[in-house]
């Protein structure tokens, strides 16, 4: 169902998304059998390709040319893919999108080399773009992305963190790459400054909403929908919005104490999930996500008249209401 919706949303740029898919396949081609296997493994795991989609849609507001735009859309997706491979080492995750992770199928070191290979391929690709501003945006994004991850590790199991801490973290961890996808689409296609600024802000707000929905789904979706055990974020020590909103609930307290010390049994995990799912925190978190969506839609309104405005609106709404 979700996949069908995505296909419909991408319909206008279907042939260009196919170009990106083919380019991704080529970019991951290597003289090493193992790197090829790991890359095929990643490509087959799929993904929503939201970053390239945002780049291409944003580029429609400038001088659109897929042969030029692929040189920024492909690296953005590669950077996302590479960071997932390394994240799985950090989170000790064996499953992602219902498939074994690179680190689980081979080992951590293979995952490190694979991630580095993908990052380097991304940079090889992007160097066909001569605009120095594009490189500066992308480089800053890469650095901030890591900073977000470092903060996440430092904040692990830290229940005294504020909502501000959480928002700052997800901004760096997720929103920035989506923000940059939109901004880079605009910058590389030569869209005017004002349009680029609105698209950048749109990307930021969508990215924030996207991550909050992700954090909600980690509790509300099923293991099957997630392709990994529900509640994994908390089990890995990542204190996300739903938990921050209900951390003082006395019923939740024993789970929070235990998860940090010894982890939860399967029965405890199920009970904890039931508690969170039935709490007001999910509604509150959804409300906050919707506030970001509204801000994103406001940015769309401020864009010049263009057929792609409706698409940006639809995708933002889809991202905010998705179920997996």
């Amino acid at each position: 169902m979700e996949k069908m919706k995505i296909k419909m949303l991408y319909a206008d740029i279907k042939s260009d998304i196919e170009v990106i898919e083919n380019e991704l396949e080529q970019a991951l081609n290597s003289s090493s059998h193992l790197l090829n296997d790991a890359s095929v493994h990643l490509l087959q795991a799929g993904g929503k390709r939201i970053r390239p989609v945002f780049t291409l849609l944003s580029a429609k507001f400038g001088d659109y040319n897929i042969d030029r735009m692929k040189n920024i859309a492909v690296p953005l997706e590669l950077i996302h893919m590479g960071s997932l491979v390394h994240d799985d080492v950090i989170d000790n995750s064996d499953m992602r999108r219902g498939r074994e992770t690179v680190k689980a199928q081979w080992n951590n070191r293979v995952a490190m080399y694979t991630g580095n290979f993908i990052f380097a391929r991304a940079l090889q690709y992007v160097t066909s773009i001569e605009n120095p501003r594009a490189h500066q945006i992308l480089a800053k994004t890469m650095v901030e992305l890591v900073n977000g991850e470092v903060i996440q590790i430092e904040d692990k199991f830290r229940l005294d963190q504020s909502l501000k801490d959480y928002f700052r973290r997800i901004k760096r961890k997720t929103a920035l790459l989506i923000e940059s996808s939109c901004e880079l689409g605009a910058v590389v296609s030569g869209a005017d400054e004002k349009t680029a600024r609105h698209l950048k802000r749109y990307g930021y707000f969508v990215g924030m909403s996207f991550q909050i929905v992700d954090d909600i789904l980690d509790f509300t979706a099923t293991d099957k929908q997630l392709g990994k055990p529900a509640g994994s974020d908390l089990m890995n020590g990542n204190v996300t919005l739903p938990i921050l909103l209900m951390k003082d609930d006395p019923q939740l307290a024993p789970y929070l104490t235990k998860v940090a010390v010894a982890g939860l049994t399967e029965e405890e995990r199920q009970n904890m999930l039931a508690l969170v799912r039935n709490s007001e925190a999910i509604k509150e978190a959804t409300h906050i996500s919707n506030l970001y969506l509204k801000k994103a839609l406001k940015e769309v309104e401020a864009l010049p008249k263009h057929p792609m405005k409706k698409k940006l609106r639809d995708i933002a709404l889809f991202m905010g209401k998705r179920k997996s």
């Binding site: 090493s32 950090i90 290979f117 940079l123 160097t127 890469m142 430092e154």
Partner: protein, 246 residues
């Protein structure tokens, strides 16, 4: 120029690199990045031998050092059970340094070096991962892989700035140093690249050690010959000789 000024130049580069990758949380948890003195020496070699260094060269030298640091951090990640906070931050320190090198070159608009270094990283990763592939390779092929791992990035950097006349010497010396370290680890029965490379082939380690020793003797002889033919200041030749004393 004397030995002190060579050391000083290497130390200055080291300080510059550390300054550009400074990160409070990473420093606290994983310490400073590992920078190999011999790599830094070869990054500086053309300038120590008289080439004029401008601002672009200076930043470029720093970024080559940062890329080495980045990839070395990832070599410290355990194959299994990398679950401690330190291990998690090792993954991120490598990624952070990698982002910083790109950021520095993007700021200075040096797209051609970004292109060459990323090409070098791809090549290096392809050789690093070989020890996990099932395919059997010869002793020479494994030595070739180690040569790529040790020297590829500096070779790409030399290429950008027209210092290719130093490439062969740099490649041989850095490979020699690495092989010497590999030999020491093999003798102690400790894990290393070549140990992994040959472990699956059930070849006796003693015969590998012997072949490696022979190879090192040949390399040393070749390197000494190279040093007599290359246009290099005597102090620099002397520094390289110190690296290759078996």
């Amino acid at each position: 120029m004397n030995a002190t000024s060579i050391t000083q130049s290497v130390q200055t580069l080291k300080s510059n690199i550390l300054q550009h990758v400074h990160h409070r949380a990473l420093l606290q948890n994983v310490g400073q990045p590992t920078l190999q003195e011999e790599q830094l020496f070869f990054i500086q070699l053309p300038f120590l031998n008289g080439a004029l260094m401008n601002d672009e060269h200076q930043i470029s030298a720093v970024t080559v050092g940062i890329v080495h640091a980045s990839l070395t951090e990832h070599e410290k990640v355990k194959e299994v059970e990398a679950t401690s906070k330190e291990q998690q931050l090792l993954v991120l320190s490598g990624d952070y340094y990698s982002g910083r090198y790109y950021q520095l070159l993007a700021q200075s608009g040096n797209i051609s070096l970004i292109q060459k270094l990323s090409e070098g990283i791809v090549n290096r990763c392809e050789h690093q991962i070989r020890v996990y592939e099932a395919q059997k390779r010869s002793f020479e092929q494994w030595i070739e892989s180690l040569m790529v791992i040790e020297s590829e990035l500096i070779a790409q950097y030399y290429d950008v700035y027209g210092f290719a006349s130093y490439t062969e010497l740099m490649k041989r010396t850095l490979t020699y140093i690495r092989l010497k370290k590999e030999l020491d680890l093999l003798k102690k029965g400790q894990p290393c690249f070549l140990y992994k490379a040959f472990a699956a082939d059930s070849i006796m380690m003693d015969s590998i050690i012997e072949a490696l020793q022979d190879h090192l003797y040949d390399m040393e002889r070749q390197l000494r010959e190279d040093l007599t033919n290359i246009d290099l200041k005597d102090e620099l030749k002397h520094s390289i000789e110190q690296y290759i004393t078996f």
